[in-house]
Amino acid sequence: MNYRDPKLGTRLAAEYALGTMGGLARRRFEGLMAADPWLRREVRAWQDDLYGIVELIPERTPPERLWTHIETRLWPVATGRVVPLAPKARPSRLWQVWSGLATAAALLLAVAVWRAPAPPSPQPLAVPDYVAVVSDRDGRPAWLVRPAPGGGLAVSALAPQALASDRAFELWLLPPGGAPPKSLGLLPADGGARLGVAPERLREIVEGDGLAVSLEPAGGSPTGAPTGPVLYLGKPLPRV
């Protein structure tokens, strides 16, 4: 499917905002959206229109206990009611919540990252030396990515990342001009690894729009394109 067709892109953005997409199509679209500022703008424009519906429905005041519960969740000590802090204690919920927030929050980070100044032109022959920090949506560094001395990419997890056993983190190169992401391989949730990546691809990393990490089924994306939510982003910086 040609997602660069504006008419199709607009229609898919509308259906994404409306929520009628099935799981597979939705995850695929979220992957595309993460790499395409125009699609993100389209989704925001549709959200702005469709979410007006919320202001057309009658209001209904929730029971008072709801606020007490929210307060207790957020500030258990201040409110004197200590309860287990559910969201942080359950890593399996983490990516579910995140996938839901792909439009609302993660993408704002994506925009901020992609607005960073363009890297200098790469050397025509040698593989340029650079380092990229891939961070989560809160800006917490998750992996360090750099060309390995013997070829390929050296990746190391800066902190263990929560990952369900049937999932994998896949690293993507975002080529310049919004072309479809190219897979660079699977990232370890903990520790380090070397990914076999061709030298021209290593140069492409510098020329492109950065790196993204999506959540995929174990073994990686079955389609060759990101199918899960983009959870981490990074931009290569030249080493001095």
Binding site: L24, D49, V54, I57, G100, T103, L108
Partner: protein, 193 residues
Amino acid sequence: MSAPAELTDLLLASGRGDRPAFERLYRLSSPRLYSLARWLLKRDALAEEIMQEAYVQIWRDAARFDPARASAMTWMAVIVRHCALDELRRKRPELEPGGGSAGSDEDDAMPEPGVAEADPDAGPLELALADGDRRQLGICLETLSEMQRQSILLAFLRGLTHSEVASALAAPLGSVKSWVRRGLEQLKRCLTS
């Protein structure tokens, strides 16, 4: 009652860690968002649970709210609706990638047999024409055909997929897809005219 500018200020203040502003934001926005959660989840207890989840998320993400990109109400409603849709999708597990649905574009969720039951607001989806900022949207929804409007509202307020809308309206899937598509196009034309 809750002027958009006030919600914007309160959400920005919440992003700076201002707890009283967040409580005020909650007081002003929760009646509308709770109503949205009830439309989507149909059960009060579940709607409360999801509202809790959503407001915790709103507080934690408030620093990332950018008023140039979205209105405060839309920004918060996106979070509430995402939390609610996640909950609905968890209960109605969709086929995972590679699980045999690779060729299907959508509609990989099966309709729930009891989808029309236990509904707190049974009956056709009729909305009040608002006086305020969203009056234009109300008017534009009125320009759609009945089936286009029902399909879009069922999808938005009930969180139904195309095939679930089809079974709720007892209509063929192809018709529903075309009502949604044409309805959205017409809505955009009307809103930008």
